[in-house]
Symmetry: C3
Subunit: 120 residues, 3 copies
């Protein structure tokens, strides 16, 4: 399966809650996609002020900062499953104080043959 | 629409012109794709010397440094529109002193269902 | 051709072997894909401890650290060629002391029209 999760966020938020954010996104992945608990590949990219550029109201929300979650995933999940993944992530992040308004998710799909994870 | 723009560039250039580069790429996006002015999602990744590796003459150009613009975009635009986007970006960057020879653009497409931007 | 290679790795490993890793991945690309020797576009992202999150045994391997190689490539290569690329990378990295168990590769494909590299 090996989805790859990349999280772009303010360094301050990373320092305060990076491990929690990691755990919650990972649990959302397990719950929504049915991946194994040990199927964990995440990259955190902490950013200095000004590196994440956004508009505060685009899409009719109240955006105060920006966390971008980039997901690379094998093309095999339905639209319903993918929307369920977003909802699971957002609900879990909200529970630790990360507002959905501040989150962008961008998912890109590839094939089974487009991965290597430790063993050929 | 929510294209996601990621810019990989030398820290020196980022410090000197990061905000200008942001503005010009964003205006090019508006002009070439017709996105709303408030549809802004950009991530800047400043790099130390040596992290961006390139050949100075590949493709018959005079490459003195490298700025990589990575674009994630919904699959809906024609080849002509995408080439218009590249030209708009390059013309605007040239006007602020960033040479086209030093730019690489890599675009990846996904679907409408592959995005979340603040609201489900 | 212009494949774009992005390498996410621990800063310690980058400082010790970044240039070697660059050279070996580039030679693997030349050998497996037949790209020109001057077709070099690589971005290194060194990470502090804790930013690369992984499970030590997922997939039945002995994973002690994580290096993620992200490849963006035109859709034109067979599955056999892509697997040959992974093997060439892994063999060359092993020869300089980077264990295959510690490597993840994630490849994403796009079209010829999705690139700009210095000249329209």
């Amino acid at each position: 399966m090996v989805p790859l999760i990349q999280v772009e966020l303010d360094r301050k938020l990373y320092d305060e809650k990076g491990d929690e954010i990691s755990r919650e996104i990972h649990q959302a992945q397990i719950d929504a996609l049915g991946t194994a608990p040990d199927d964990l590949f995440q990259i955190f990219h902490p950013h200095e002020p000004g590196e994440l550029k956004f508009n505060p109201t685009y899409g009719g929300v109240d955006r105060r900062s920006l966390m971008v979650i980039r997901i690379t995933l094998v093309h095999r999940h339905s639209v319903v499953t993918k929307k369920g993944l977003y909802k699971a992530i957002l609900d879990r992040l909200a529970a630790i104080g990360v507002r959905a308004d501040d989150v962008q998710i961008a998912l890109v799909e590839n094939g089974f043959e487009d991965w290597f994870a430790g063993k050929l």
